[in-house]
Amino acid sequence: MSETRPIIEVVDLVKAFGVMPVLRKFNLSVQRGQFVALLGPNGSGKSTLLRLLAGLSKPTAGHIRIGGWELPREAAAVRGQIGMVSHKPLLYDNLTAQENLLFFARLYNMPKSEQKMRIQEQLKRVGLDRRADDLVRTFSRGMLQRLTIARALLHQPHVLLLDEPYTGLDQDAGGVLDELLIEAHQSGHTLVMATHQLERAAQLAQRAVILSRGKLVLDIITESLSGHELAVCYSEATGAQTAS
């Protein structure tokens, strides 16, 4: 596959639940290694778009290609290339951190010889190596989210999809998550993050895609923008008031 070809291509995507359209003729193209923030008010279609990109939901019309593979037709090939972090931990409370990662390593058909090494590497990366044998139900929200990132990156996906990952995190835990996302981006992962935190989006992402009522209303490079400038753009694009 050509390296210059976008890793994510969305063409005329439509998603409707019954007669209710959530995404209307949505188009998006994301280059390999880019960090894109998906912004928009509640109900604008951000989470639905991420679920479609993850292959967890089927489009009503239009095309999605991840790494050149067409979704949902070639979903089996795409699955190994995607990692997902959402506001839910996607972890088992009654298993330890290590057991959780081992379970997912098995689901991703990771060779037995690599499993232990890769798990320890990920736990160290998110600063949970000392808590490897502790039950997940004893973890704080911030630790859970770090472990969720470890789970999402365990199989070394090309694309990391994040659905409001900062929900419920305090300032310190949010800061740790910032560092992990920056590190993931620097190590070559493509990141698409749905968030309401405009300041963070301006700080972390290279590009912001703003949705309103299922349509793309603004696609903007954020590298030279401050949080306040992005908030102004956001208000103008969506007609919404922002706190930033």
Binding site: R51, A76, R79, L90, N94, L95, Y108
Partner: protein, 226 residues
């Protein structure tokens, strides 16, 4: 990335469920408590002579197994939905039907534990010897069928708000043929009836189990995908 083989996925999901359950005892504990209470309530409520007891005991046994399994099935699938774990599994390069097989195998083992403990308990409380090898086989086949249908239906109802009430309403009519065959076979075995009078029922059970298993394996991917 290659697709994870079916049996490896099934084993991983089943062993994960067993490990989590061994630690929390949340599911089997509730099922066992329910079983104990139900069997005792039936025992006290139905003051019956020995002959009538022999006639009703298989009904009591199976009603208890069905409701205990519903209790476990609801919880087992709810655990996957509450934390978004079903999504995490659906993201992995695995067969959807292997998720079904893994969850079903776990549910089967949990219900079997309850069924195995139910046999001596019923023998003591009803003074009817039900701990017999043939009855154990019928119990195994019946529980296999309930776990199969129940896992599929629990995956459907867990997505609704009224999942606790919806599962029995949806499940009971579907398991009726299974229940009928299981009760008929158990009645014959407990009453020491000639084998030609009841031996067709375990075979019917086996056929129903196979049909349900194939149908559920094929239908599960459509149930979990949006």
């Amino acid at each position: 990335m290659n697709k994870t083989p079916f049996w490896r996925t099934t084993w991983a999901i089943m062993s994960k469920d067993l490990r989590a359950e061994l630690r929390s005892r949340e599911l089997v504990g509730a099922m066992l408590l329910f079983t104990l209470l139900a069997i005792m309530i039936f025992s006290f409520a139905l003051e019956l002579d020995r002959l009538t007891r022999e006639e009703v005991v298989s009904g009591v046994l199976w009603v208890t197994v069905v409701f205990a399994s519903i209790l476990g099935l609801n919880r087992s699938m709810a655990m996957e939905r509450e934390q978004g774990n079903m999504d995490a599994m659906l993201l992995a390069p695995i067969d959807r039907s292997a998720i079904f097989a893994g969850k079903m195998a776990g549910n089967f083992i949990f219900t079997l534990v309850v069924g195995v403990l139910l046999l001596p308990l019923t023998t003591v409380l009803y003074n009817v010897p039900v701990a017999r090898p043939m009855l154990a086989l019928v119990l195994l086949l019946g529980i296999w069928g309930f776990s199969t249908v129940g896992t599929l239906l629990a995956a459907m109802t867990v997505q609704t708000r009224a999942r606790e009430t919806l599962l029995p309403i949806v499940m009971l009519p579907v398991v009726l043929p299974l229940l009928l065959a299981a009760v008929r076979a158990s009645n014959g075995i407990i009453a020491d009836a000639p084998s030609e009078q009841w031996q067709a029922w375990p075979q019917v059970l086996l056929v129903i189990d196979v049909i349900y298993l194939v149908m559920c394996l094929l239908m599960f991917p459509f149930v979990v995908e949006e």
